[in-house]
Symmetry: C2
Subunit: 418 residues, 2 copies
Amino acid sequence: MPRPRTTTVRDLRKSNRSRALWQVFLNGPLTRQEVGTLVGLSPATVSNLVVALEAEGVVVEVGLEDSNGGRPRGLLQVNPRYGYVIGVDVGETAFLVELFDFGLHMCARHTSVTDMTVLDPEDAVSHIVEGIESVIAGSGVDARAILGVGVAVPGLVEHREDAVVHGQSVGWHAVPLEAMLRRRIDLPILVDNGAKTLGQAEKWFGAARGTDNAVIVLLGIGAGTCIISNGEVYRGATSSAGEWGHTTVVVGGRTCRCGAEGCLEAYVGAGAIAARYQQLKHRHVAISPGELERRIAAIIDARDGDRAAAQVLDETVTYLGAGIADLVNLFNPERVVVGGWLGQALSDELLPRICEAAGRHALHLPFSRVQIVKADLGKDAVALGGATLPIARLVTAGAMAPEQVGARRRGQSVTSPG
Amino acid sequence: MPRPRTTTVRDLRKSNRSRALWQVFLNGPLTRQEVGTLVGLSPATVSNLVVALEAEGVVVEVGLEDSNGGRPRGLLQVNPRYGYVIGVDVGETAFLVELFDFGLHMCARHTSVTDMTVLDPEDAVSHIVEGIESVIAGSGVDARAILGVGVAVPGLVEHREDAVVHGQSVGWHAVPLEAMLRRRIDLPILVDNGAKTLGQAEKWFGAARGTDNAVIVLLGIGAGTCIISNGEVYRGATSSAGEWGHTTVVVGGRTCRCGAEGCLEAYVGAGAIAARYQQLKHRHVAISPGELERRIAAIIDARDGDRAAAQVLDETVTYLGAGIADLVNLFNPERVVVGGWLGQALSDELLPRICEAAGRHALHLPFSRVQIVKADLGKDAVALGGATLPIARLVTAGAMAPEQVGARRRGQSVTSPG
DNA sequence: CGACTTATTCCAGGCCTTAAAGTAGGGGGG
DNA sequence: CCCCCCTACTTTAAGGCCTGGAATAAGTCG
């Protein structure tokens, strides 16, 4: 994943170390030989690097491969107890905070529901801080062993000095979330858009694994995407690439909550689907964001007997197909992953029809090369993705030990299942 | 531009050499110090690399910077006589073949018009070969000094073993153009989509210069784009990324020549504009592709007095704005460059209105960060872009001399304007 | 012409990866 | 139970690369 800026011979080592660590991290127990093949290094160098990584407690040898006559190969894995990370999902209806070990197994979680229409940034910060303190306490992890916090938010995130959030749907305008959190938490903080963290989670552990060019769609109240290009999350100039929900699918069409006309979100967002259903039923009851999930499920369930439900879903499938086709034409991905609670609910029942609709709108060649699949990871994927942020930074840096940090980790024993 | 796969200490040198050469190539005369700063190398190393590059005739010192007391800095430039490249533009109405020196100054050109609706691949190959032979003869360049040929085609290009072209608009299905050309020409051949070559030309020398994230739009009979992401052309999984023309802007809208409904091309392509104008005028005369340019120019000229012309252009502006807004939302570029003969003609007169329409459809934040500008380079940009293909390959490889090649170039003298 | 200033080159030093040679750690046969 | 075989891992010597500082080159200015 890194883009090495190697100029000196020491950067070379850093780069090789980082690449080796990426392989071990992402591709699970691996022999030294496999690492060598994957990274393009001689056995001697791999050995050399591994010695250092083991000494620092970043990597551990877990068991041996079966041998057929010779010395068995040792299996290397990331040391789950090297440190811990926290992932935060600031959703439109709830806060989810989870604590993971370095192998990204969850150790503790904390949820707080806020069926919000507009949320005060200070309140949000309090929720987050409370959640973080709760998971640290709940897991019993030494706070000094926490490597960082990754916060996923709905809305655009600009990465300048500190991350600034523009979250139209929650009424945030240029909220300096990172700075606000930094004032209250003494941990490295990283903030990113929720679709991007979801995408990174699906890329590392889910349905987008192994692809170098993928688009992960996050469909819920809004519609965002994470574009994986050449194996990395594509951000664009100011980190707001992938704003699919406000792509125009009908020039002069329905007015979207963003103010523009004909946005995809105004046709396939959860609010739009529910509203359209009510319209067909001539009903007009206010629906809070928290209720939407149940309502949509009811519509999907009712589709065989309820003409309005069937029609709404037909329309949804068509617009969603067109939207996905646009992604296929523009990005030419190997795979499109449909995620988010709405995305997963729709694909459970309607994926073949969505694919067909996409095929009607996409060019034959790129469409013939793409797989459209449902997301693998569940609802927690956004928080898991948040947790990947500090990890990605660390692994890219090769988990270099800044002495004093190394000291605190040395000597931690590790159970080896072999 | 390269993505270094450095593992050994020799790869390091290759990588540094390539990066230094890229800087000298793209950023014109540069002092050794500037190269050092740009690439992140010490003066000693730059000097060392430059000695090698000069000895091989890749780089030359052209003049000195003014000094104010000390030894003047030498100015380094790529040696234009290091070799020559040929760019071919297979357009929908003509073939254009141009020969350039290593500094990409044009030395000779050859045009052949073919107002084609469907073109036989073998005929196309003959046109190309004829053009290549003509420019070589016309320029008097030794054929052995030609480094390669880059061919730009309308349509999707898959890069497998050899490039295969899927050019719907010219009736090509999986035409193995690269292999066909290789059989008749003994030169390195590279084939790519015309929008991508145009984009690379604009990125190197035109309106997209200096940006790391840009979208270059090629608007003519069809509508393609070149997406520059992190400074490089983005290709996607099978190299067909950027197919903007068949993005859906009106679900259930006009039928496009690709068979789908509501494609952008069916609203803003030259054929669509002309047809719509005729429809408003209740005229129905067949228009050949070659006539389109004149017709469109007439419509643009007539817009003040002719209500139908005004209406057609209004519609075009709106749809084009929506299409550009989609690009802005999805790619978050620093700059959108509008090129192609139609794109340039429209932006000459209507760019402010196009921007405004894009602003109505795009999200505020990414729109506030983007510049929408007209292309800088003229009609030959596609062929120029073709010529950049072999150069890009060479420069990325650091122009390493495979002995026998080096031998033939050594000793060529070079005029130094200093 | 000489002093001064700044660019470029030379050189010793410190790292890095590799190939080759040695060492470690199991299996299997007598 | 010991010894040989096989394969994985480590050690070591060699060859390369970049850097900082010293030395040299090439102008300007008085």
